[in-house]
């Protein structure tokens, strides 16, 4: 299992090779040897790769790296494989039953069967021992069934909501390309 990086919308795998000589990276299956050496100017680096010396500029913010090389700037994002697997798995979904963490009563129900909810969305509020607890969705999903209604009492472990996988999730809007102050 290697480490994944996204470049130009495509995912690529980088494996470290630990041998002391020869290639130290395997990128999409191809071995190569590369060392990153800082240059003098701020953000300037030299990548010594397979005998060549490539001058580039590099800046990083968290797991996003910007590389300026041969007149073009590229954005590379390191993917946390676990996060990606969680998102893929939760999108593919499957059924999940949320159960009561303690005995109590239902204060209000904030959803209904058929509704698509996002991770963290409030599904219902329950009360127990004078304390109100929010039951939220653990992932993006569709509410398949709500088993209780306001005022109902339940035991610990009782089924409260059943979730199933939501259908395709929409892309966020890129935003209006024109904003105020636009020069002519």
């Amino acid at each position: 299992m290697g480490y994944d990086f996204v470049l130009g919308g495509e995912s690529h795998t980088v494996h470290p090779i630990h041998e002391p000589e020869g290639p130290n990276l395997r990128i999409d299956g191809q071995p190569l040897r590369a060392e990153l050496v800082p240059g003098l100017a701020r953000g300037e680096f030299f990548l010594e790769v397979d005998g060549r010396r490539e001058r580039l500029f590099l800046a990083s913010e968290g797991d996003v790296h910007f590389v300026h090389w041969r007149g073009r700037t590229h954005r590379v994002e390191a993917i946390n494989a676990l996060e990606r697997a969680r998102r893929a798995a939760s999108a593919a979904g499957g059924t999940e039953v949320l159960r009561a963490p303690m005995p109590g009563t239902v204060v209000e129900v904030a959803t209904r069967a058929g509704e698509d909810v996002v991770a963290g969305a409030l599904l219902m509020t329950i009360e127990s021992m004078k304390l109100q607890t929010a039951i939220t969705s653990p992932r993006d999903a569709r509410v398949a069934e709500v088993f209780v209604s306001p005022g109902a009492t339940f035991d610990q472990g009782a089924e409260l909501v059943r979730l199933e996988s939501a259908e395709d999730e929409g892309e966020a809007d890129p935003g209006d390309p024109g904003k105020g102050g636009q020069p002519g």
Binding site: Y3, F5, L7, G8, G9, H12, V14, P16, I17, H18, E19, P20, L25, I27, D28, Q30, L32, A34, E35, L36, A41, R42, G43, F45, L47, V49, E54, L56, F57, L58, A59, S60, E61, D63, H65, F66, V67, H68, W69, R70, G71, R72, T73, H74, R75, V76, A78, N80, P174, G175, P177, G178, K179, G180, G181, Q182, P183, G184
Partner: protein, 495 residues
């Protein structure tokens, strides 16, 4: 000590690149400078470049910059002699210009009447036509709403439906054939209402493969009007200018002279004062028609400065101070060629989607004939709060070819990390054979869309970039270093 008598302190009612550029001239002229600054931009280069940064606020940063009362109150409070509106925001707002002058502050720009006249697309066309200058065949709805569609159709297809109060490509509909006309009219009208608060529309002939040619005008309060040459701004995407140059390529000197002469005539007829730009549509057959007049300094004014050696902001200030122009038309010299590229925060590889991010590295281009007008600095954030133009890269060369080479090199050497820009895309335009040959027209970009698309990376190029990123990635390095010895040296051995 101000070099311009009567103007000791100027408030710049703008932000970003233009505020920085105006402040530069103010400093050179020994004039005290102030600028309105929204809290989000407190540390910006523009805010830091002026003597006095005056906070403004509003529901949004844009709203703050459109709040005339607040701005005038600030100008009064700080004792500004004059106000420079830059471009965009309130620069072409006649009411604002009036209010500024009413407050006893000089408006660095034309008179409110000129702004009002030229700001109204229908009125301005009527005026220019009446003054005997060439106009695109057109029809205004206002004249007789019931016959508008007919009169529009009479112009011939294809035609354009435009908003009278509009600009920047908004409220514009291209109509290819008669059956599209009604719907286009409705759409244009509702967009005009929505964006400009003014639903008046007009129709005009749509020139195919037109060039956008404009003339820089300078006029003083003593009746002197002259031109500083033309600019070709045909390279546009969705009506937004991307690359501007002077002199206009592939143009006879005779045509050049005629266009500039017409521009001066229009400005004179309008009794124009200060800097302004007359825009024309140039048809392939050599006919040109008045499009509109911009009653302010334009984004692309630096190319004119590069070939004439003049500082247009300085000229604006002197004119506002009442000084006569210090030179006549025959004194104006034009040397070499200049090209400007608008560097924008957008992803040309992803359908020009707006880009945002924190600017981690900014290395502007340098070298002979290279000028970088940018309001950005390392550490600043690019958001969708303001327009996506980050900076202008302007080059000068002895001739157009040299200018193109310098511009291409400057774009390649410009390093902006943290926010995607269109730098590589601009470089590809400049490198296109048709551009080099001067075969420019406003449809250049859609016509060459395929050739201008970025070449996909080759696998070994991808590997280089990925290697650099992986080796810079902290997590990757930690995991690599975490592997103990002798296991690391043993590699992926299995028994």
């Amino acid at each position: 000590m101000s070099q311009v008598r009567g103007i000791e302190k100027v408030l710049v009612a703008n932000r970003g690149e233009i505020a920085l550029r105006v402040a530069r001239t103010l400093r050179r002229l020994g004039i005290q400078s102030a600028a309105v600054v929204h809290a989000d931009e407190a540390g910006s280069p523009a805010a830091l470049s002026v003597d006095e940064a005056c906070p403004i606020d509003g529901d949004t940063p844009v709203a703050a910059h459109l709040d005339s009362e607040q701005i005038i109150a600030i100008a009064r409070r700080i004792g500004a002699d004059a106000l420079h509106p830059g471009y965009g925001f309130l620069a072409e707002n006649a009411d604002f210009a009036e209010a500024v002058e009413a407050a006893g502050i000089r408006w660095i720009g034309p008179s409110p009447e000129s702004i009002r006249l030229m700001g109204d697309k229908i009125e301005s066309r009527r005026f220019v036509g009446a003054a005997g200058h060439p106009l695109t065949p057109s029809a205004s709805e206002e004249d007789d709403p019931s016959t508008f569609a007919e009169r529009a159709a009479a112009i011939g297809f294809p035609l354009l439906i435009k908003a009278s109060a509009g600009g920047g490509g908004k409220g514009m509909q291209i109509v290819a054939a008669a059956d599209e006309l009604a719907r286009a009219i409705d759409l244009a009208r509702s967009e005009a209402e929505r964006y400009f608060g003014d639903g008046r529309i007009y129709a005009e002939r749509y020139v195919e493969a037109p060039r956008h040619v404009e003339v820089q005008i300078l006029a003083d309060a003593h009746g002197h009007v002259l031109h500083l040459g033309e600019r070709d701004c045909s390279i546009q995407r969705r009506f937004q200018k991307l690359i501007e140059e002077t002199p206009a390529p592939a143009m006879s000197d005779a045509l050049r002279a005629r266009i500039c002469e017409q521009a001066v005539g229009i400005a004179r007829a309008a009794r124009y004062r200060n800097a302004g730009t007359v825009e024309f549509v140039l048809a392939p057959d050599g006919e040109f028609y008045f499009l509109e007049m911009n009653t302010r300094l334009q984004v692309e004014h630096p190319v004119t400065e590069m070939v004439t050696g003049l500082d247009l902001v300085e000229q604006q200030i002197r004119i506002a101070a009442g000084q006569p122009l210090a030179f006549a038309q025959e004194d104006v010299r034009f040397e070499g060629a200049s090209i400007e590229c608008r560097l924008c925060a957008e992803d040309a590889d992803q359908d020009f989607r707006p880009a945002v991010g924190r600017l981690l590295r900014v290395h502007p281009p340098e070298g002979a004939g290279v000028r970088f007008d940018g309001g950005i600095a390392e550490g600043g954030s690019v958001t969708t709060a303001f327009d996506p133009m980050l900076a202008k890269i302007i080059v000068h060369g002895a001739n157009r070819q040299e200018a193109i080479e310098r511009a291409r090199r400057a774009l390649s050497e410009t390093v902006i990390l943290g926010c995607t820009t269109n730098a590589a895309y601009l470089e590809r335009i400049l490198g296109h054979a048709d551009f080099a040959a001067g075969r420019v027209e406003t449809g250049f970009i859609p016509a060459h869309a395929k050739e201008l698309a970025a070449e996909p990376l080759r696998p070994n190029e991808r590997a280089t970039i990925l290697a650099a990123a992986a080796l810079a990635n902290r997590d990757f390095n930690e995991r690599v270093e975490a592997v103990p010895q002798p296991h690391a040296s043993m590699g992926a051995w299995r028994n």
